[in-house]
Each structure stands twice: as C-alpha cells, then as structure tokens.
C-alpha cells in the first residue's frame, strides 16, 4: 500500500535523525519569480540537500508573512498563479523528485474557495504529503473538517506553535498534527532576523517534553521556522530541533536575481543544508528527542 504523507514525512525526519542531523526544509513560493523559475529553484534546492520542501500557495493577504513573502505572493499572483496551477506544479515536481516530502503552505480562504475536500484530494493526487494553513488554528471547526479530510486522503495536517503558546495549546497542536509540528521561532511574522530569540531553546524544550509525553516511543518531530536566514542560525536551530525551515532569505535571493534565480539560491541553500546537517554544538539535554524505537 502506498505510504501516507505523514509516513513519508516521518521517514524523512527519521532518516535525518539516523544520520545524526536535522532535516533541512526550504520554503519556495510556487510561481515566484515566475512559474518556470520556481520549478527550477525547487530542483536546485533538492540538489543542494533539501530533505523536505515547504511549497507556498500564494494569497493576496498573507497576514503571517513579512514583506519578502508578501511581495513574492503578489508577484506569483500577477504571474497568473491559482490554486489549481500550484497543484499542477506540485505534480510536475513530483514526477522529477519522487523522494522528498512536499508540504503545501497556504492561507485558508483560497482553500475554502477551491473546496476543502477537493483541495485535499487533488493535493494528494498531485503528490503533496503535508498541509500547513497558518491562519487556521487547530481548534476551529474548519480544522476538524480539514483534519478528517486529511486522514481520509493521507495528507498530513501540520499545525503551528509559537513562543506565546500556552501548555494547553501546545498539547492541542501536537495531538492534531501529523508528520511534524511547526514551531514559529519568533513572536512575529516571517522574515530574516539578526539573531535567534534567546528563549528558543526553552520553547523547543517545552514542546519536546509534551511531544514525549504524548508519544514516548515515537514523539512527533519538531521543525523550527521564521527568522532563520544564515547558516550559523541554521546550525543553532539544528542543535535544538529535528528540522530547520528557511523561507524569506531564499525567496529574497530569488526575487533579486536578474538572470538565474535557481543559481542565486543554490549557494545559500547548500550552506544552510550543510549547517542544518551539522548542528553547531552538542545536542542539548532533551532537545533532540529519544531515539525512535
């Protein structure tokens, strides 16, 4: 039987863990800077060492995103991108890249307009493995509906946690996520920061403790995103978490590249992948999780 999206995502994290490293998950906005170039960027990120991908579905009003991803979304929409076109591109990428899990990241309104059930079914058919909806908290009735659809079709619902999340909300997001849970490193929107927040290790440890409590033998992997832009930051995060997500820094390079965006992102992506794969310091107690099984 074909593995589910959650199983494929878990396998990717398990592979990284078995090799003593964190998984590197770059973000790319589908259709940016052009549809064709965004495909080339994903190929180039795969060559650079991406273990999983976060693929953005553009929205006109992305309120969790900073200026770089906002501008990228607008450019993608100006290029004629639609939800349907995004899913076609996922299918094209899947044909070329059979292995790495693809997590779609899109705001809730375009998904509702497309139809939640139709979206989940078409996303799985196209080869997507996970779904992140930054403006759909796990406690809304629409999240219940989405989770049920995801389970039926084999797509992993991934919810987000923030440094402000209360213990109750941490437990809820972990219980309702599959594949991994997405930790927003900063109290803020997407975009590069000079330094990682001082309380990141403590935040990751809090979530880790709850993940272990919920599933001592096989805790949900934790991936950290928002604000990570440099290889040094990627290495720091890799020492704490199971996955390192980098978005705006790569999107910014792609946006600024005049001739060859795929080449422009490749060099940073390679350094980020290497850093994610070589955590900067010894893993902190409790931060890397118990070995699975």
């Amino acid at each position: 039987m074909k593995p589910t999206g959650a199983e494929r995502i878990r396998a990717a994290f398990a592979r990284a863990r078995a090799e003593g490293r964190a998984a590197f998950m770059p973000y790319q906005m589908l259709g940016h800077p052009t549809p064709e170039q965004s495909l080339r960027i994903v190929r180039s990120l795969a060559l650079a060492g991406a273990d999983l991908f976060e693929l953005g579905v553009p929205f006109s009003d992305p309120l969790a995103d900073g200026p770089v991803i906002q501008a990228a979304a607008q450019r993608a929409l100006d290029n004629g991108m639609t939800v349907a076109r995004c899913l076609e591109m996922v299918a094209e990428l899947r044909a070329e890249l059979p292995d790495p899990p693809f997590c779609l990241m899109g705001y809730v309104n375009p998904l509702l307009a497309y139809g939640l059930e139709r979206f989940v079914a078409d996303a799985v058919a196209a080869g997507a493995d996970g779904l992140i909806v930054p403006d759909l908290p796990p406690d809304e009735p629409e999240a219940d509906e989405l989770i049920a659809l995801c389970r039926r079709h084999g797509l992993a619902p991934v919810f987000l946690l923030a440094p402000t999340s209360t213990p109750g909300r941490i437990a809820l997001a972990l219980a309702r996520s599959q594949g991994f849970v997405y930790l927003v490193s900063v109290t803020g929107i997407t975009g590069a920061r000079d330094a990682l927040p001082a309380d990141l290790a403590e935040f990751v440890a809090r979530v880790r403790a709850e993940a272990l409590r919920q599933s001592p033998a096989d805790p949900l992997p934790l991936a950290v995103g928002f604000g990570i832009s440099t290889p040094a930051q990627a290495a720091q995060v890799a020492a704490l978490a199971d996955g390192v997500i980098v978005g705006s820094a790569l999107v910014k390079l792609a946006a600024a590249a005049e001739a060859d965006p795929a080449a422009a992102v490749a060099s940073l992506a390679r350094s980020l992948a290497e850093s994610a794969h070589r955590p900067s310091s010894a893993c902190q107690a409790g931060a890397s999780g118990e070995p699975a099984g």
């Binding site: 929205f59 006109s60 009003d61 309120l63 969790a64 900073g66 200026p67 906002q70 607008q74 929409l77 639609t82 939800v83 349907a84 809730v108 309104n109 375009p110 998904l111 509702l112 307009a113 497309y114 930054p134 403006d135 759909l136 908290p137 406690d139 809304e140 009735p141 629409e142 919810f159 987000l160 946690l161 923030a162 440094p163 402000t164 999340s165 209360t166 909300r169 997001a173 927003v184 109290t187 803020g188 929107i189």
Partner: protein
Amino acid sequence: MTPPYDFAAYRWPDERGRFGPYGGRFVPETLMPALEELESAYLTAVNDPTFQAELGRLQRTYVGRPTPLTHARRLSQHLGGAQIYLKREDLAHSGAHKINNALGQALLVRRMGKGRIVAETGAGQHGVATATAAALLGLECVVYMGTVDMARQAPNVFRMRLLGAEVRGVDSGSRTLKDAINEAIRDWVTNVRTTHYLLGSALGPHPYPTIVRDFQSVIGREARAQMLDRDAGGPGRLPDAVVACVGGGSNAIGIFYPFLADAGVRLIGVEAGGRGIASGEHAARFADPVVSRLGVLQGTKSYVMQNSDGQIALTHSVSAGLDYASVGPEHAWLRDLGRTEYTYATDDEALEAFGLLCRLEGIIPALESAHAVAEVVKLAPRLGRDAAILVNLSGRGDKDLDTVMRELGKG
C-alpha cells in the same frame, strides 16, 4: 421551517466565537493566547461595576454622551413621507461613533497593563478616535493607514499626528483599509506581549466583533430611549425602521442591537454601491453573489468579495470607511436569521444625500453616513407621514470636504 427566532433570547456568539457559521478565530497561532487573554479580560471588565462606572463617566464628561436625537423636519417635509430622526453620533467627541469603541477598548488596555496600542484606519475616523483615547489615557499609539486613504483623508492624518499618534503609511495591496489591517495585525503578532490591537469595526477574530458591538450598543440604547421619549426629541414611539451604513458594520450593529427584540422595527444596513453593482466597483458584500461569497478574511468568516480563486477582490467606494471586502460576521448571521436587511447606495446617491442634508438640515455628514441618508431618501416617501425612521448619523463630514469638492467638480 423552523419557528420564528426569539430575539428576546438572542445570545450570540457561542463559546467558540461563532455567530452561526460566521465569525471564529482565523489568526496565526502567535495571537491565539492574546485573544484568549483579551476575551477573559473583557468578560471580567464588563461585569465589573468599577469599569462600567469609569466608562460611563468618560462617556458623559469627555465624549459628550448621550448624543442628541434630531428630528430632521425639513428633510422629512422635502421627502414627503416618514418623519426622519437622526442619531447624532457626528456630535460625539472626535466626530464619529468610533470613539465609543476606542475609549472602551483603551480603558480595557490600561486594565490589562499593556502600554501600547496599534490600530488600523480607513477614513481616519477610527484612527483619530484611537489617537484621542490614547492621548487621554497616556498610551503609546501607532495607526496604520493605506497611502491611498492618507491622500484622500489628509486632514485626519494631521489630526492623528497632533494627538501624538504615529501614523504609518501602508504601501502594499490596494493601499486602503484592508492593507492597513494586515499591517496592524503583523505589528500585533510581533509585539503581542506589550501591545493591544485596537480594532475599530465589528470584524476580526473573536472576541472583537462582540467587544465592538457591545461598546457601540450605547448608540442604540440611547436612541431607543430617546425615540420613546418626547422630551428627548423623539416621537414617543419606536421607529418603523432603523437605517445605518455598513462597512465593517460597527455603527450599524451598535444601533441595531438594542432593537433586535422589537419585532416591528425593520433594521436596514446600507452598503457602498460604488459605481454600481454591475460595474464590479463597489463594496456591497450582500448585493453581489458573483463576487461575494462565504470566506475568511483577517481573522473572521463572513461574506468576502473575492475572485474565483479565493484572492481578495479590490473594492471601491467614494467613502473610505465603507471600502472593505468583508462585513462583520454578526451582520451575516442576523441577515440569515431574517432580522436585518441590506441594501446599497451608489457613490452618486450618497453624494446627493450628502448635499441634501447639508442644505436642508445644516448638517454636513460623513460620506459613510450619507449612504444611510441615501437609503432614507428612497424609503421615506414610500412610508406614511406618521411613520418614523431612525438614521444613525455616524459621523461628521469635515474630513470628506476635499473628496466631495473633487467629486462635484467632475460633473
């Protein structure tokens, strides 16, 4: 068929912040704890006599409440039908109903121990009201405003700055209210531990639609009592219809809410018809089923003007305060329940009503409020002379003089 809904027992939203299928909390996780904290602080405050006494004192001694009810005799005579009564929110301090909510929330902020507020503004009235309340209570205030709106509402930008607020121009998207809200939310996400988002309309994630409704309901409570009281200028009975303009819908929900259980009173919301529904250039969310469908915008589920792919549509209205792609979730629910009805007035109709009120009553209304007056111009002649219409004159029009001069200059 379900039996008629008993509005005396109307208790929405539910515990999840839903008005039927509408409302809810569609925000980044970072904000969820802040919304839970706000809800809890609000519930404690409204049940605290000290808070209510302080709010009441400031409403009387600072805002100038109760605002009067004016019988618009010459307008009524001119239209030759129903008697028209104006609830004069234009006479509230800072020039519009927006101060009711801004002051209420600012008091709440002080109680919550946060020292900084951010707000969005379209026409500038909510920004001015927020800057006013912030100055009164000693809070740091940042107002986000689309650069298109800054250009068309320049006097209000200057007012906010005079009041000590920082006005930050927003250059993304359509550079109007929707984009200002996005930026205010982004600021709030980033500074949530120290900052309160002082949302100005009956929109956004739960509990905002409820908080704004409750703070604005003072309009309807006063107006209802004044209508019943001849000494307060009323006809000594309830109106046959209450009319208010609807952008996000705060002035409308504020005047409608205390009338919900009065079955004989029609509640009519007036959206911005812009250049006409067929033109596609409007903000009439309830009038255009092709463009406006159930969706999620900026934290709440309601009717949203959008393209077939779920991207938010650009809206148009001569009035910046009505120029918004979605509408408060409680309006959508009351409409489903059959309690409220919605129509629209075009830019031209609003401008005509604006002129009429100036000439016949000596009142320069906000262009937003002129949309409500435009509906009265249509409705009053159809009702008898013994009928009564209550109109929420939500704001004064000084801020719109440039726009009106420009629009009249076109013809």
